[in-house]
């Protein structure tokens, strides 16, 4: 299996802060790889090392077969990058920025550019200073997606986009994958990563704590149930896949694995459900539950 990004034991410190602490990351060619972690976990720092903007203190980094620090310029022609907070030149129009970034990367596909502008509903004539946060993000995305490159590095690219535009974004990422290109998608939104990615690396405090396919990470996906039942509770605690059961009179709260959800709900309905709230876990909860106390 060919790899596009190969990082092992990456360390980067800023003064006393150890932003990256022995990070490992492998992205295979042609996959959409989710890079998942809470804010401040080191995602952007990793990406900047991959872009040769920051110099690694220790560890090995290979990108598209080259050294991102030494071969920066040659590698950059083969990739496109969208930062998490796209800032534009106040007196350049969005269309000008898209063309400029495209030309700096070695040209972009005019047909694809027009298609992208239409599907993202972006007016390219507005000046950079007048775009909203979401629209600035779109400018960065159009410039990257219209470029003819092997690798896309997207750092929380959908921040500020509304749900409709997030759909559009997902559509385009799927098209990019169909073309056989590779995507590294950093995010702190679990649902986004689930919708798009073949494999995921989860990072916390500068270290990869988990890496694998979505199937491998299924155990992360528990649903939290908060229900009120008519009859006194029994027979839930011994069901496999039910965790953290708390009973408070007739109110019952527990987390349940995706595989056990059906059985657990069946049991609840037998008891008579008066009210039921189910919530998917937030990334923060996942982290609290799974990785609290993981060695730093």
């Amino acid at each position: 299996m060919e790899t596009t990004i190969e990082v092992s034991g990456l360390v980067k410190t800023f003064g006393r802060t150890r932003a990256l602490d022995g990070l490992d990351l492998t992205v295979r060619t042609g996959e959409v790889h989710g890079f998942l972690g809470p804010n401040g976990s080191g995602k952007s720092t990793t990406i900047r090392v991959l872009l040769g903007l920051l110099r690694a203190d220790a560890g090995a980094v290979r990108l598209l077969g080259g050294d991102p620090w030494r071969d920066a310029v040659a590698l950059h022609r083969r990739l496109a990058y969208v930062p998490g907070d796209v800032t534009l030149w106040p007196n350049l129009s969005g269309g000008e920025v898209i063309d400029l970034l495209g030309r700096l990367r070695g040209g972009l596909d005019p047909k694809r550019r027009a298609e992208l502008l239409e599907s993202f509903e972006l007016d390219p004539r507005k000046k950079g200073r007048t775009y909203s946060k979401g629209n600035r993000q779109k400018v960065g995305l159009v410039a990257a997606l219209a470029s003819d490159v092997e690798l896309l590095i997207l750092d929380e690219p959908t921040s500020g986009l509304d749900p409709l535009m997030e759909e559009v974004f997902q559509h385009w990422v799927r098209r990019v994958r169909q073309d056989g290109r590779t995507v590294l998608l950093s995010s702190h939104i679990l649902a986004e990563v689930e919708a798009l990615c073949d494999r995921v690396t989860i990072i916390r405090a500068g270290r990869a704590v988990e890496s694998g396919t979505l199937g491998d990470l299924r155990h992360l996906h528990r649903t939290a149930i908060d229900a009120e039942v008519a009859a006194p509770l029994d027979g839930l605690a011994d069901l496999p896949g039910v965790h953290d059961l708390r009973v408070d009179g007739q109110r019952v709260r527990f987390d349940v694995d995706a595989a056990a959800l059906d059985a657990a709900l069946r049991r609840l309905t037998e008891l008579g459900v008066r009210s039921l709230v189910s919530t998917p876990p937030t990334l923060e909860e996942l982290f609290l539950r799974h990785y609290e106390g993981v060695d730093r």
Partner: protein, 530 residues
């Protein structure tokens, strides 16, 4: 909650953020009139000498056009006239300060951050205005005290100080109004500076015409018409006061009617696709720098025309003053004195050109901290290419500014002495002689940017030290080694018959070394440093 809730906190925030800049311009602008008075006392101790200077120079139309009218031949009257152009700078500093703390904040989105907390509708504008008013009043007070300390009459000193303060306040309020009109700080600065330019133009026209009514329409004209030291017409001070109130009466309602972040004037659309020129780092840098370079050239070209026009009269002004005639003879006659005057003014333009170089170099820092450098450097653009695309403007900008000023000066001076071709060449040379010293400061800014990006704005402090050494060094009788720290001390006076090019070569080598070191350190450092 009243409309002014939070004003005090915002004012303290402004003072905290401007704790260096604000005292700096207040002190420098307050100290200069005092140094003018001191030099007039020294140069023209007798009434006869002053009368000759007043007739020959101070009433010369070019001088009046640049500085304003003179109402007598007392040291006070001459000082008040000589400080005329300072009022333009006081107005500029005041209006930029207000815009910096209103529209710039809004454009950057920081005001939104504060708007969410407990702030009255008027708090933002009021805090910016109050701080600037306080700075202007302090400037007026210091100016008055300084002038009185040189031995000038206390009443006249107070009148001049108040006139300066009220001029500053008028333009501060104009800045406050301009900040409400456009969506961008750049647009607001444009409106404010256009207003200042109009005031200068009206005063210039009124003061040089037979009938001076246009001057009565200009805040800069009012300040002169207070006639400090020559009658002290206090009632004229009511005019800038009324203008301040009137401008504020426009600005406040507009500030409430519009949305946060919006302006009154609609924004314009740009092209949907990039033109051919915008296809590489140099094309981008040209787009970012071209406005500055154009306006600086226009401004300094005009300044050069006025300076050149005034030079010949300055040369003749000492006729009848034996002491000065003797100095002049040593300098090489009437043309020698004109040359000395032109050399001195062009060296001031050299300092301004260094300022251009510094701001062009620091543009890189702004690009980096705003997050606009990163996407460009993540493309096929080499770090060195990106740096050089900006450095080109930091180095060429001073050349353009000084060449334009030199050419314009040579043109009008050449006309007045009837020898255009020769004077254009000489003045172009004298302007360009300032370039290497300006390059040293621009190179220093590049070095700081590469090596210690967080400290890069310190280049401005170095320029301020050079200005002080050059302007006040002789007055304060500082040691030569101290004066030698400024690259401008080493620039030869090329209008004199004998000078050597060695210092120019050495300064250029130094500038090149600073720039190259900046480039090397930039290539090796982390990006972005926030």
């Amino acid at each position: 909650m009243s409309a002014l809730t939070g004003t005090r906190h915002l004012a303290r925030l402004i003072l905290r953020r401007d704790r260096v800049l604000l005292p700096l311009w207040v002190l420098v602008l307050a100290a200069l009139p005092m140094s003018y008075a001191t030099s007039f006392f020294e140069l023209f101790p007798t009434a006869a000498e002053r009368a000759a200077y007043t007739e020959g120079t101070a009433r010369n139309p070019s001088i009046v056009a640049l500085l304003g009218p003179v109402y007598g031949d007392s040291v006070g009257a001459l000082t008040a006239q000589r400080s005329g152009f300072l009022l333009v700078i006081v107005g500029l500093a005041s209006l930029l300060t207000v815009i910096r703390h209103t529209r710039t904040e809004e454009e950057a989105g920081r005001r939104e951050l504060l708007g969410g907390s407990v702030l009255g509708r008027y708090a933002g504008l009021t805090a910016a205005l109050l701080v600037t008013y306080a700075a202007d009043l302090l400037l007026g007070l210091l100016t008055a005290a300084g002038l009185a300390a040189t031995g000038l009459p206390a009443a006249g000193s107070c009148a001049y100080g108040l006139a300066a303060a009220l001029t500053g306040m008028t333009f501060a309020t104009l800045g406050g109004l301009a900040a409400q009109l456009t969506e961008t700080a750049g647009g607001a600065r444009g409106i404010g500076i256009a207003g200042l330019g109009a005031a200068f133009g009206l005063r210039l026209v009124g003061d040089t015409a037979d009938n001076d009514w246009p001057s009565w329409l200009s805040p800069l004209g009012w300040a002169a018409r207070v006639r400090a030291y020559e009658g002290d017409r206090w009632w004229v001070l009511l005019l800038p006061l009324a203008a301040t109130v009137l401008l504020a009466a426009f600005a406040y309602p507009v500030s409430v009617r519009r949305d946060l972040g919006a302006g009154v004037l609609p924004p314009r659309l740009g092209p949907a696709a990039a033109g051919r020129a915008l296809s590489g780092p140099f094309g981008l840098a040209w787009r970012l720098h071209r406005g500055q370079i154009l306006w600086w050239s226009v401004g300094f070209g005009l300044l050069g025309l006025i300076l050149g026009g005034a030079a010949e009269a300055a040369g003749r002004s000492v006729e009848g003053n034996p002491q000065l005639e003797e100095i002049m003879a040593r300098l090489g006659g009437a043309s020698g004195l004109a040359d000395a005057y032109l050399g001195a003014t062009l060296s001031l333009v050299g300092l301004a050109a260094a300022g251009y170089g510094i701001q062009a170099a620091l543009r890189m820092r702004a690009e980096e901290s705003a997050g606009r450098a990163e996407p460009v450097l993540a493309t096929g653009t080499h770090r060195s290419t990106w740096l050089l695309s900006h450095v080109v403007f930091a180095l060429l900008g001073p050349v353009v500014v000084l060449a334009t000023t030199g050419l314009a000066t040579g043109l009008t001076y050449g006309f007045s002495v009837g020898d255009v071709p020769r004077q254009v060449g000489r003045m172009l040379g004298a302007g360009l002689a300032q370039v290497p010293a300006a390059w040293v400061l621009a190179g220093l800014a590049v070095l700081l940017y590469g090596l210690l990006p967080r400290l890069a704005p310190a280049a401005w402090a170095v320029l301020a030290v050079c200005v002080l050494l050059g302007q006040l060094g002789a007055v304060l009788e500082l040691d030569q080694w101290l004066l030698d720290l400024s690259p401008f001390t080493h620039t030869p006076q090329v209008l004199r018959p004998t000078w050597t090019a060695t210092p120019l070569t050495l300064l250029t080598i130094l500038a090149a070394a600073l720039t190259a070191t900046g480039l090397l350190t930039f290539r090796r450092r982390d990006l972005p440093v926030l």
